[in-house]
């Protein structure tokens, strides 16, 4: 039996999302350990969150250098010895410094769980930040910074953040002098104060047993410290427009955006829908206009970046240099069109269906479900917030979307950074 190609297949009904919540182990000290075991392979991902990041550093780069160098040596072991031990277990570690917290990710094979965490334990107790490793890292990081400064997109992102957050640490970017001024002592102090203790929570994906959890409890129980409330920030900014010319560039990076709010704000999820329509997927207005109609760019997109303290909306693209002014005009045109005209129902239905699919995908599998859980926890949202989001998605009207565009997408509130 062949199908009638002229007719689209019947659209299936919306599937219910079934969010698996992690088991929560409350250890003696109160340290929460979240566990999702439903993974088919005998591997584990243990994610340890520390309550300090860029916000808590006293000078630029300290939190990220501390993260990069955490495994560079202990009292008794050299970096090479630590690394070889981890390799023998088939384990990978990755330490990253975020805005309000730092994270240690440990990936490995279940049958080597215990031996892997013996190494992690030693590092957390005895990290020594050796002077020679620190110098090597400084040199390499400075060179990488110099190379990055040759990339329009990197320069644009820095200028954009500086303009959006002139009065707080979200807008703090590292300069060459910061690479020269930072000391190994800064890192060991940051580690002593924040990473050797101050564990906020541990999140585990993998088919682990009670014995594995006991191993973690033993290491981390006495390192627990309750989540501190995010600092209040001075969020005033000026909607500056800035062009940094690079005479030899073939392309121009454009970043446009404004300070907005956290996911806790009452308009967040509705604005998320509006933002998706503007630039959040392939069928979005910006993508259709700048790429599929005019061929100015390989890609253009928008998004919302959320922190506990605030959030911002951005549009980002790299266009042929000869199109830079036309591209900014086209972006302005699309923003104003959302403010001036109601969205057609076909377009809204399309975005709805697309977002529904994305929501389903965002709950598919143990790793995705853990992320959803942590997102809700981090922003103090109810754990069923995705169901509320689906309701909002079904309910939202073209009129409401236009209201939100008028309220939040005022061109005069936008920071515009153009580099290239």
């Amino acid at each position: 039996m062949t199908k009638n190609r002229s007719q689209a297949p019947e659209v299936g009904a919306l599937q219910n999302i079934s969010l698996v919540l992690p088991e929560i182990h409350n250890t003696e000290s109160g340290l929460p350990i979240h566990v999702i075991r439903e993974v088919p392979n005998d591997v584990f991902h243990v994610h340890i969150e520390f309550g300090a990041g860029k916000m808590q550093q006293t000078k630029p780069l300290i939190s990220s250098f501390t993260a990069d160098l955490l495994f560079s040596g202990t009292k008794d072991l050299s970096q090479l010895e630590i690394q070889e031990k981890l390799d023998m277990q088939g384990a990978f570690v990755n330490v990253e410094a975020g805005m309000n917290r730092s994270s240690l990710h440990v990936y490995g094979l279940l049958n080597h769980f215990q031996s892997t965490f013996e190494i992690v334990k030693d590092v957390l107790e005895n990290a020594s930040f050796p002077e020679d490793k620190f110098e090597m890292h400084r040199k390499a990081a400075l060179q990488q910074h110099t190379i990055n400064m040759e990339k329009n997109a990197y320069v644009a992102r820095r200028e954009f953040l500086k303009a959006l957050f002139p009065n707080n640490k979200l807008g703090e970017v590292a300069e060459e002098s910061d690479f020269l001024n930072i000391k190994a002592k800064d890192c060991s102090e940051f580690y002593q104060e924040h990473l050797s203790k101050n564990v906020e929570q541990i999140n585990i994906v993998g088919p682990i047993s009670e014995e594995h959890i006991a191993i973690l409890e033993e290491i981390f129980n006495n390192r627990y410290s309750k989540t501190t409330k995010a600092q209040k920030l001075d969020l005033t900014y000026h909607p500056v427009q800035q062009y940094i010319e690079k005479p030899k560039a073939m392309q121009t990076t454009i970043r446009i955006g404004r300070v907005l709010f956290t996911p806790k704000h009452e308009d967040y999820f509705e604005f998320d829908i509006l933002e998706t329509i503007l630039g959040g997927y392939f069928g979005s207005r910006l993508m259709q206009n700048l790429r599929e109609d005019k061929g100015y760019t390989y890609g253009v997109g928008s998004g919302i970046t959320a922190y506990e303290n605030t959030g911002y909306f951005f549009i980002s693209t790299e266009v042929g240099k000869e199109h830079k002014d036309a591209a900014v005009e086209a972006i302005k045109h699309e923003i104003n069109r959302l403010r001036e005209e109601e969205i057609g129902t076909d377009e809204l239905d399309l975005a709805r269906a697309y977002i529904q699919g994305q929501i389903l995908k965002s709950t598919d599998g143990a790793f995705a479900q853990m992320s959803q859980f942590l997102f809700a926890k981090r922003f103090d949202l109810p754990q069923n917030h995705l169901n509320s989001f689906l309701e909002t998605l079904n309910k939202i009207s073209p009129k409401r979307l236009q209201e939100l565009a008028v309220k939040y997408l005022d061109w005069d509130k936008m920071v515009v950074v153009v580099v290239g």
Partner: protein, 416 residues
């Protein structure tokens, strides 16, 4: 163990189905057995430009992406020197929409002049963004012709230059389509919560009536055996010296492939690797160094690459590197070195397999190589490798006469 069920339609379409009862999503992956290596050397970049054109709509599907978005799906694709691969992620109960749009564009693409002109511009911007407007962006445009003299791996997937992209005509595009896009040049793989009978029924219904296309026999020029070391040094507006030493190795199905893969890890994967220890840690000449393999189907390359702190150290580094390579070959590696990289390989492999899309994609790729079941036997290949095999292979691969290198020096250094 990744379960799979294979069947072939009368028109030659090969189908691999992987059942996963735990996911609400489905993946429909379509691999076409055509890549940049199949292009005319005078019109390179066409396979990749054509990948963009495949999203133009087809006889019964006006807007490819929109049709998928309407049911919560999303699609993308990539082109390599060997293959062109398209994938769709969507809720499982919408799978027919994926089969509808994917089967329709397999033989009835509806390409307009406007599509061609727009995607030509998009690809030109992609060319600039990724290869021309980045420090070191043109590395592979420059390196491929040094490493390969005859084989079509001597150009990059994006194409040799912008001029080739500018020259593609509608006739070129349609000729390419008719040659390479048809059921008997494709592998369809589907992953999700379905039953075998259901998939067989659906695939037959949507693809069964598509006409088979011409059989294409691939006659690529073989790369002649390299006889001596080749080097090219170029000067660019970059802040630091970058170096790339490439060594000839066997293709994806060569019996030594897995061994060379592990050799590259021993040399340059991570902070305990030999090259990192010697040049980052001990000598402190480099700000980064690593080794990897290209993973191509035809004989390819093991690559050692890095960046120097001081441009004037290039000769010193190179002399030391050759001496070090000789040492490694003479002394061999220890069992411990092998265990380390093998364990890391196993962990990476197991994590990679957790993704539905990577399972679907890998099944199609292994089926192209000869048998989808290679996905399960591959790990065994790596597990069986001995230190003796590695030591024997080291001597064959790390020969200076088999090496081609590219050095990128900063302009300011040149002026001194």
């Amino acid at each position: 163990m990744i379960n799979h069920h294979k069947f072939t339609l009368k028109n030659g379409l090969r189908v691999v189905f992987h059942q996963d009862k735990t996911t609400p999503m489905a993946v429909v992956n379509t691999l076409y057995d055509v890549g940049a290596r199949d292009e005319n050397p005078e019109l390179t970049g066409l396979a990749h430009l054509f990948e963009h054109l495949m999203f133009s709509g087809s006889a019964h599907v006006e807007d490819f992406d929109k049709a998928l978005q309407k049911v919560g799906g999303q699609s993308n694709a990539f082109t390599s020197n060997d293959i062109t691969n398209y994938y769709i992620n969507l809720p499982k109960n919408q799978i027919e929409t994926a089969l509808w749009v994917e089967s329709d564009r397999m033989t009835q693409l509806a390409l307009t002049d406007k599509n061609l002109e727009t995607q030509r511009q998009v690809v030109i911007e992609e060319f600039k963004q990724r290869y021309l407007n980045q420090p070191y962006g043109d590395t592979w445009l420059e390196l491929r012709p040094v490493a390969f003299e005859k084989h079509p791996y001597n150009w990059a997937t994006i194409g040799k230059n912008l001029e080739h992209i500018e020259r593609v005509t509608m006739a070129d595009a349609m000729h390419f389509y008719h040659n390479y896009y048809h059921p008997n040049n494709a592998i369809l793989s589907i992953a999700g919560d379905f039953e075998i009978a259901e998939i067989e029924h659906l695939v037959n219904a949507w693809y069964g009536d598509l006409p088979a296309g011409p059989h294409i026999s691939r006659k690529l020029i073989e790369e002649p055996k390299q006889l001596e070391y080749r080097n090219r040094t170029i000067v660019r507006d970059v802040p630091a010296t970058a170096f790339y030493f490439t060594f000839k190795m066997g293709g994806r199905m060569s019996e030594h492939y897995a061994i060379v893969d592990l050799i590259s890890d021993i040399l340059g994967r991570g902070k305990s690797s030999m090259l990192y220890q010697r040049y980052f840690n001990e000598k402190q000449w480099v700000s980064e160094i690593s080794a990897f393999i290209l993973g191509s189907i035809d004989p390819g390359l093991l690559v050692v690459s890095g960046k120097l702190h001081d441009p004037s150290m290039m000769q010193t580094l190179e002399a030391d590197l050759w001496a070090f390579m000789e040492d490694i070959c003479a002394n061999g590696i220890e069992q411990k070195d092998l265990e380390k990289v093998r364990n890391k390989f196993l962990t990476s492999k197991m994590f990679e397999e957790l993704g539905l899309q990577s399972r679907a994609m890998n099944l199609a790729y292994f089926e192209l190589l000869g048998d989808a079941d290679l996905i399960n036997s591959e790990v065994l290949n790596y597990e069986n490798i001995t230190a003796e095999q590695v030591n024997a292979e080291l001597k064959k691969v790390l020969q200076k006469s088999q090496c081609s290198s590219l050095i990128i020096q900063p302009e300011s250094h040149d002026q001194k």
